[in-house]
Subunit: 579 residues, 2 copies
């Protein structure tokens, strides 16, 4: 068997097994060394291939796609710094538990560490942010090595998706010549009709005895809160609401919990807790005696602050798999169980049980008051960043998706995303909370037909302008709302803002970019407005391709507006408490 | 001592010691956690601060600056994926031996690995591409810890620049509040008038006995070649030419060796060896019996091919420090000595010695013939990629700098950069040969007044469009020549090109971007031309700010033109050999 046949059979078996194992999409950044993988993916009928030239964007594009599609997406790049550009997306995937399959081409061993061009040390180069690394053998054509390569493909897909998801990295040494020969007989031949490995995946759950023990510790609590942070499981949304309803517990729902939308019975859902708990007084008076928490830590800083301030708040944290998302350093009880099964089992085990409902009613009153203040000037034709969010949510249709940027955007969403019976999916990159890769992530989420609106700040938009290219190349529709306060607005809320020297240069980062030009280069339509009316009109029609709406706001006015609202909420709930 | 005082004294001592140790520039990407470092750098009078919003661009900006200035440049970013964006530049710095000082802010230990926002595992996150990592202690104000922090600052600067240069990474855990208080008494106080550590740096050199032994092995060679690859030491240029002149040895000089320009006596310099050795016949007939090589491996693939083809070529490789840049897997003799001292010592040890000069004359003839063919249609008003390079070189003034892109651009430079008495500095990112970060690298090189022209392909330009922002912010002049063949032209030369299926999508990567729009967003002037005349006129005046000249070429015609030239050269030199 000659070199080309060995190469061809090795790579075709690998790619075929990925497809057999359920991989449907691969994102390729062109290069030379990766030719065998790239050409083989192109030849295989069972996989959709996306070209994305900037590997940093490619990484986030795959991340957004994997997140929205809820399955592993493969990435292919050539050797050298190309691979290093994946790093930010791989880090984000690790912390936000998104499955990726990173396939890097490499020089063969004899060209490593000897000054050969475009050869860097790719072994474990993404540690510790991946679940599994394997240095693939050089292509061989023996039956044994065809089994080896199928086994590795199958296993890589499984590992990326099992337990806490993350990226898996396989590194492929390839020798020249790099072009496979697909005319060889039976290059796609399968030895098994099903995938190489088959997996039956059990889920962790508590037994009856464990549930009783847990309930004994919880049942006499007087001020329980259920808290659900960022998570994407639709089933959990339903079960959590059922459990909270039946037990009579306020359910503090993060904007990324998927719980604020698609709800018919919304009484238990408290969506304004971030605004309420901004008040020190409220944190003292309405603090829980126990918190049962699901998903990642909520976006809300005041909530976190409350946990830090009061050591008498007992914490229960439900995690599906090994994990330790508990940033307060307070004692905590971890429940390692599939959260959906946990809710179902707990509710069914104690069908008659309820906590004291007056505590729930108190939170319902607080929530109603805060909500009414936050929405009171909604119809004014002035545009604060909060108005942008609430207008968007009003105009979105059932089943649309919001991809929300970090920094200010996600905080505004937290404040203004009120419960709705419309199903609205909310995605974000809350693993490492970076402002990078947002445009690419949103295009990834939009790649399979979802109607996506990305909301982000100008700094974050700038960071991933390159991400617009993939939209142009594939004609993907995406609406982007850029909240342009000409720099990093979130810093206006920090103590640094008061140190006026150097503030503007270091933290305000004004940069005066006319994004219209770049948007137009990528074939997008661009609108700029400072009017609520115009924004609403613009949101009324679905975008056909890329559409960028820049909303110009004022950092100072915005910060002031928020402070006024928070003060008003505190005053109102204190009055309410006194009467 | 309270928290703010501890923080302030710790960070001011650190920053002051960096300045004492010779750090003159810091590139800051704004963020919150990095506030103590960012504000302290801003306060210190002894250091120039650059704001660069995209950390990937910031990394390359610092790289270009460090390369051009020949000294360490510091980088500051916040925690999370911000740091991960430095990865490509850090990898490039490692392989091209550029000193960087990477300062990442981090969450304190109690907020790590517990699901806290923007906290990722930053310990050793750039391994194995850095020279030294140190996790800094939490800020403390004791005298001992002020000595500690000064010692680490001083050492970091030294390590980055000593031996084979690379990045050093210091990770700083900071607790809130993050704002230092510069009104405290004596925050900048120095315990020592000089830097904390002082270093006397010796250089490796051979002793008389070692030189004699070496000479015994070389002196009877009949076909010796000196080869100098990418390197930036001006002194080496001079000494190498002296040595080659005296010993009568052809000096094959890479376009990045700094040897092709600023030369008065140019007879020994062979600049067309890449074109000559493209001929299999020439490789056979004009192969050396010994190669003495300096710097990194040359860009030329035919040269590398020749080393691989003929095992009777003895190799001597001169390295200043530990290193092993020998990609052929052939036996090699390493000379670990400062290359400048090696040339001086060798020449002075054997002042009467010369190799057989007819071998030098043969190479001089080949070089003359190849040169005349390559330049024969120089005056035609058609624009191949080669014409772009030779026109640029004609128009450049003394002491200007060319930053050359990877892929096709550097190969064209290799072919068309003929010796000149003008001093022209040539920089490139040849560590990992990535196409990323080029715009930022070139702005970094232009940051201290050098007149820089960046030449790169459209794909590479696209990859770092974000890099233009720093130019706008600081009004840095830079000329960029984008050779736009609408996609990855280098692939037209690869075997993959013959597989027409999928070629255009996978390797041609046409993307039809009208760069004028984005250039204009960044405040640059833009010109597009297909005419040599217009290009020449454009190059006649120095750019005031950012100026982008897009030269539209045709991939097919260009590849064809090169092939014709190579054939013509082979025919001519074969005829010359027969007569």
């Amino acid at each position: 068997m000659n070199h080309t046949e060995r190469l061809t059979r090795y790579v075709t078996q690998f790619v075929d097994e990925l497809v057999q194992s359920g991989v449907t999409d691969v994102v390729i950044s062109p290069g030379s060394r990766s030719t065998p993988l790239a050409m083989t993916f192109t030849q295989h009928k069972g996989i959709k291939q996306w070209i994305n030239l900037d590997e940093r964007s490619a990484g986030f594009f795959a991340l957004g796609m994997a997140k929205e599609q809820n399955r592993v997406v493969a990435l292919v790049c050539t050797s050298g710094t190309a691979a290093a550009n994946y790093y930010p997306a791989i880090v984000e995937a690790y912390y936000s538990r998104v499955p990726l399959l990173v396939l890097t081409a490499d020089r063969p061993h004899e060209l490593r560490d000897v000054g050969a061009p475009q050869a860097i040390d790719q072994i474990h180069m993404f540690q510790p942010f991946i679940k599994w690394f394997h240095e693939m053998a050089l292509p061989e054509g023996t039956e044994e090595m065809q089994r080896y390569v199928r086994s590795k493909a199958s296993r890589a897909v499984h590992v990326a998706q099992d337990g806490n998801r993350a990226a898996v990295h396989l590194n492929f040494p390839f020798r020249s010549p790099l072009v496979p020969d697909f005319d060889l007989p039976n290059v796609w031949e399968r030895t098994l009709s099903e995938g190489f490995h088959s997996n039956v995946n059990g889920r962790r759950r508590l037994d009856a005895h464990e549930l009783i023990t847990l309930h004994e510790r919880l049942q006499h609590k007087e001020r329980p809160l259920f808290v659900v942070g960022p998570q994407t499981d639709e089933a959990l949304r339903y079960e959590l609401i059922q459990l909270a309803e039946q037990f009579g517990v306020p359910l503090l729902a993060d904007p990324l919990s998927q719980v604020r939308s698609g709800v018919v019975e919304e009484e238990v859902i408290i969506e304004t807790y971030d605004a309420i708990l901004k008040s020190e007084w409220a944190r003292e008076h309405y603090r829980p005696d126990v918190v049962v928490r699901f998903g990642a830590m909520p976006v809300s800083k005041p909530f976190m602050l409350m946990l830090n301030e009061y050591e008498d708040i007992e914490q229960w944290i439900v995690e599906a798999h090994e994990g330790h998302r508990e940033p307060t350093s307070r004692p905590a009880n971890f429940v390692y169980s599939d959260p959906v099964l946990f809710c179902m089992d707990y509710r069914e085990a104690f069908p008659q049980f309820s906590f004291n409902r007056s505590w729930l009613e108190t939170w319902q009153r607080l929530n109603k008051e805060a909500k009414s203040i936050l929405l009171s000037d909604k119809e004014e034709n002035s545009l604060t960043e909060g108005h942008v969010i609430s207008t968007l949510l009003d105009e979105l249709n059932q089943d649309e998706t919001v991809y929300i940027g970090n920094s200010m955007a996600v905080r505004d969403l937290d404040t203004f995303f009120m419960t709705t019976d419309k199903r609205i999916r909310v995605l974000a990159n809350r693993g490492a909370n970076g402002i990078d890769g947002m445009v690419s992530s949103a295009f990834g989420a939009a790649s399979h037909g979802a109607e996506v609106t990305l909301v982000l700040g100008d700094l974050s938009f700038y960071h991933d302008l390159n991400g617009m290219l993939v939209g142009k190349q594939y004609g993907l529709p995406l609406r982007i709302i850029v909240v342009n306060n000409n720099g990093g607005g979130i810093f206006s809320f920090l103590p640094q803002a008061e140190q006026s020297t150097d503030f503007e240069e270091l933290f305000g980062t004004p940069f005066e970019l006319d994004f219209e030009k770049t948007v137009s280069m990528y074939g997008g339509r661009f609108f700029r407005t400072q009017s609520l009316e115009v924004l609403r009109a613009q949101l009324a029609t679905a975008p056909k391709g890329l559409e960028v709406i820049e909303v110009v706001t004022n950092r100072e006015i915005n910060a002031q507006w928020h402070r006024t609202k928070w003060r008003e909420i505190e005053e109102t709930i204190r009055e309410g408490a006194e009467t």
